[in-house]
């Protein structure tokens, strides 16, 4: 995957040197153009050569999904704060983890903490459980299923070997 990324950067530099313009827009266009060319070429390669072209769109999709969740949950909490009478049902839920590496747990924890209404209190010592304090615990199993289908599935798609 590093090889594909280096090839991408080299082709971008070739494009910039050929056109002779060194603005940020030219760098971006060169990067996208070389990404497209390398993707067309990689259709003949084996599976390891194709991983780069699977990971990059999925990462962009993860960022967009996260931004949508952030705005939606913030509006929910803002509505809750303004209207009289509290409708919250808080609680601490133990979520079993599927991701194992340190960086993946960090990414999942940050993503959970940034959608309002939830934040992570602790990770258990053997890194198998995540304790999340949540504002609207309707049904515990349903909440755990929501987190696993939403965030964890996408992170596993990106980082699985």
């Amino acid at each position: 995957m590093v090889r594909q990324f280096l090839l991408n950067v080299i082709l971008m530099l070739v494009w910039v040197l050929l056109t002779g313009a060194f603005t940020l827009a030219d760098f971006t266009f060169g990067f996208l153009l070389s990404y497209g060319i390398l993707w067309l070429v990689s259709r003949l390669a084996k599976d390891e050569g194709k991983r780069y072209f699977v990971v990059v769109p999925k990462s962009i999709m993860l960022i967009l999904f996260f931004l949508k969740e952030l705005v939606k949950a913030n509006l929910h909490v803002a509505y809750e704060v303004i209207t009289p009478g509290l409708r919250i049902k808080p609680g601490i839920v133990a979520v079993p983890l599927d991701v194992t590496g340190s960086y993946e747990i960090l990414l999942l924890t940050n993503l959970i903490s940034l959608t309002p209404g939830t934040f992570c209190v602790d990770v258990s010592k053997d890194r198998k459980t995540l304790y999340v304090h949540e504002m609207y615990v309707g049904n515990k199993e349903e909440y755990i299923k929501n987190i696993k289908n939403g965030f964890e599935k996408r992170i596993l798609e990106i980082t699985q070997k």
């Binding site: 909490v77 601490i92 940034l114 309002p116 934040f119 602790d122 258990s124 304090h133």
Partner: protein
């Protein structure tokens, strides 16, 4: 046209920060206050910085704005997590109408590791 966009984004940024402030006063529990405060202020500060970056259309300003937003989004959840853990260890009770508490007796008495 740019003024309209910048004005509306800055307006929503300030509105979310106001929501965070009201939320801190209204919530009955330490954990709830922390969660409302960190998340809403992160989004509000992000939107205000975005409006600032769009208004001054220079390259250096825009790059710095993007990096600042990224750093705030990386470090705010870590600080919220540490404060939440410290609050739980110093035996601050949850709100009495809470639904469930899975972290009841998981901490060792001496070294506070679960």
């Amino acid at each position: 046209m740019t003024d309209l966009i910048v004005g509306s984004i800055a307006f929503f940024g300030a509105l979310f920060i106001l929501m965070a402030g009201i939320g801190i006063v209204r919530m009955p529990d330490t954990y709830l206050r922390m969660s409302v405060a960190t998340k809403s202020t992160t989004l509000g500060v992000g939107l205000s910085l975005l409006a600032f970056g769009i208004h001054f259309q220079e390259q250096m300003t825009t790059m710095r704005v993007i990096i600042i937003i990224l750093f705030v989004m990386i470090t705010a959840p870590v600080s919220a997590h540490l404060m939440g853990r410290a609050t739980y260890i110093s035996k601050n009770k949850l709100w009495d109408k809470s639904v469930c508490d899975d972290l009841e007796n998981k901490y060792d008495k001496e070294d506070n590791l679960s």
